[in-house]
């Protein structure tokens, strides 16, 4: 029924199947969005990586379809945002309806001066195809299709992985194993580990339909609409004139019955009208869970994406948080493998991303409680909020149809250096230590956007002109720091950008002298009102978990 033709990637026999394989630096299990993003990032950092996937194609069905601004910025760093944005549907406005009336609308990004939009919708298979193409173009990245992990033993110095292929088993030892093998994570099971939390009873139907429509590219959410009384409905536009419609069915729905076209069609007709012409592309009945592993690092085995944590779909926090996992892990693994940091740095992956998972789980659970209230009191309050929201602005803030993914501010991370200068803003949206660097338009050799100007490693964003000797000293460190100067004449060895519209200074609350230290994943880890070489060096040491330097 789908019009999408799955690509088939050929299984190829590896030399590792014929002779004892040398110990690989990193093996990634799972060529989904998270595994591929991690592999591309590692490859770009010069770390050879083998990705194992038990299948030979991309996602079957559209699955994760919303990619948030921060994810697009990460994809920019990985060299594939352009393809994905060109193919996808950008949107910025969400509308919430109760019964037959609009309750309110919201904008994801409320100000100009960002390279990437608030959200891009794209079928997961298209996204994965773009990632596979990019992965194959990055030297050092090898994807092995039809390679299924059947055994994992985590030792002190290495991980022994057994892999099953159409040609039989082979042994693949590696220094680090990253499991990005999805919600059911076979690797997690093989290691006897659990992901704990709660399963929700309500069933939902996803119907992807192909339809020519003049509907705007917006997220529309209905509570108790006339065409599907008592339940909720969510509408999203995807690429290729495909629309995602998500019907809440309640806890008693029969999944096998609800999957049948004769059950789906009347629901669609009620919503779209008897005249609407459409074809069903894909349908799936699902329940969801909110859970996570207690730790994402188990010695030399690390977990990322759905394997590590699972949320409800409301808020698009699954795939988007998985990309942030990969973003967080790649530079740390690269430094550890390169000998420039100890494995203590990987504990910060666990600390930072379990914190992020808790934030996502809290949002996801709250949305779920609002969308599918349990018990009479909970339902009464929910309906009261919706009724009040029509007239009273305060109640609109309580309506929760999903709080859409924003990147986690790693405010409590041990890698951050606390502010020494007291006059930096600290409220929501401020560039506090732990916040991902926000983009802004600039003029410079590396193009018209600030994030595109940052280096692959640590960057010092300086709103003053540094001495050449300081730029040199930072560049020559074991963990080098590249200097990007804003709005000042260039110094040899540093990049310079012009803050033509004043967005950079405003977003970074900068004055002459202000400096921000950004990690390789573009998160702020320290900031000062004046440059101090020693302070920058101590902050870098702290950000790579080098305790002896503190």
């Amino acid at each position: 029924m789908t019009s999408y033709v799955q690509p088939r990637y050929a299984y190829r026999r590896s030399p590792d199947q014929d002779a004892a394989s040398p110990v690989k630096p990193v093996v990634v299990v799972g060529a989904g969005p998270v595994g591929l993003a991690l592999a591309i990032d590692l490859g770009q950092r010069g770390v050879p990586v083998v990705v194992l996937d038990d299948d030979d194609t991309v996602s079957v069905g559209s699955r994760a379809i919303c990619y948030a601004q921060r994810t697009l910025e990460i994809l920019d760093r990985l060299g594939c945002a352009e393809t994905i944005c060109a193919k996808g549907v950008r949107w910025n406005v969400g509308k919430v309806f109760h019964r037959d009336a609009l309750v309110f609308d919201f904008a994801l990004v409320q100000e100009p001066g960002h390279h990437r939009p608030g959200m891009v919708n794209l079928q997961q298979y298209h996204l994965e195809e773009a990632l596979v193409r990019r992965a194959l173009a990055v030297s050092g990245v090898e994807v092995r299709w039809k390679n299924r992990v059947t055994g994992v033993r985590v030792g002190r110095d290495r991980v022994d992985v057994t892999v099953d292929t159409p040609d039989g088993d082979y042994a693949l030892p590696c220094a680090w194993l990253v499991a990005c093998d999805g919600a059911r994570s076979p690797v997690r099971g093989m290691l006897g580990l659990e992901s704990e939390g709660q399963a929700f009873r309500d069933r939902f139907l996803i119907a992807d339909i192909r339809m020519q429509s003049s509907f705007p590219s917006e997220r529309w959410f209905w509570f108790d609409p006339p065409f599907h009384p008592g339940q909720s409905v969510l509408l999203h536009r995807q690429a290729d004139d495909v629309w995602r419609i998500d019907f809440q069915l309640g806890p008693d729905a029969d999944p096998d019955e609800e999957r049948k076209p004769e059950r789906i069609l009347p629901r669609l007709r009620a919503m779209l009208g008897p005249e609407a012409r459409f074809e069903i592309e894909w349908a799936s009945v699902y329940t969801f869970q909110c859970r996570r592993m207690s730790r994402f690092r188990h010695g030399r085995a690390l977990f990322a994406g759905d394997a590590a944590h699972l949320v409800s779909p409301f808020g698009a926090r699954g795939a988007n948080s998985g990309f942030q996992d990969a973003d967080n892990l790649a530079w740390k693994l690269a430094l550890v493998i390169g000998g420039d940091a100890t494995d203590a740095l990987l504990d910060s992956y666990d600390a930072e991303r379990t914190l992020a998972a808790d934030e996502n789980l809290a949002h996801s659970t709250r949305s779920t409680d609002f969308i599918t209230p349990k018990g009479r009191a909970s339902r009464t309050f929910r309906d009261a909020v919706l009724a009040l929201a029509k007239r009273h602005p305060f109640a609109r803030r309580l309506v929760n149809s999903g709080r859409l993914s924003t990147p986690t501010v790693l405010a409590s991370s041990a890698l951050n250096t606390d502010d020494r200068d007291a006059d930096f803003p600290c409220g929501a949206g401020a560039m506090v230590p732990g916040a991902p660097a926000v983009d802004a338009p600039v003029e410079g050799e590396a193009g018209p956007w600030l994030l595109g100007t940052l280096g692959p490693g640590f960057t010092l964003l300086a709103f003053e002109r540094l001495a050449e000797a300081d730029v040199d000293a930072l560049a020559r460190r074991t963990v080098p720091v590249r200097v990007v100067q804003v709005g000042v004449p260039s110094t040899r060895g540093a990049s310079s950008v012009a803050d033509t519209e004043g967005f950079v200074a405003a977003r970074y609350a900068a004055r002459p002298g202000t400096c921000y230290l950004l990690r390789p994943d573009q998160h702020v880890c320290a900031r000062w009102r004046a440059f101090d070489l020693g302070a920058v060096e101590r902050a870098v040491a702290r950000a790579v978990a080098r305790t002896e330097d503190r």
Partner: protein
């Protein structure tokens, strides 16, 4: 921390109480529950202070022995 006011604070307590009860007089149980929920939400927003609201929630539950399983437990 602002403390929840539990000393008398209503200008005309009997008038208020009469109006509160009157607001429910022609309603069935479900409508009454709706009005109460809206009232709580409106007043909570007016108060705004999370500490005060937390104390009010705690005071409202005082001396109650929970008699029901929370519906969250079964999913």
């Amino acid at each position: 921390m602002t403390t929840l006011v539990t000393a008398p604070n209503l200008d005309r307590p009997d008038d208020f109480y009469e109006r509160l009860v009157a607001a429910h007089r022609d309603l069935d149980d479900a409508q009454s529950a709706t009005v109460n929920a809206k009232l709580i939400l409106l007043l909570a927003n007016h108060i705004g202070d999370a500490d005060v609201l937390d104390q009010a929630i705690a005071a409202a539950r005082e001396d109650l022995a929970p008699a029901g399983l929370h519906p969250r437990d079964d999913r």
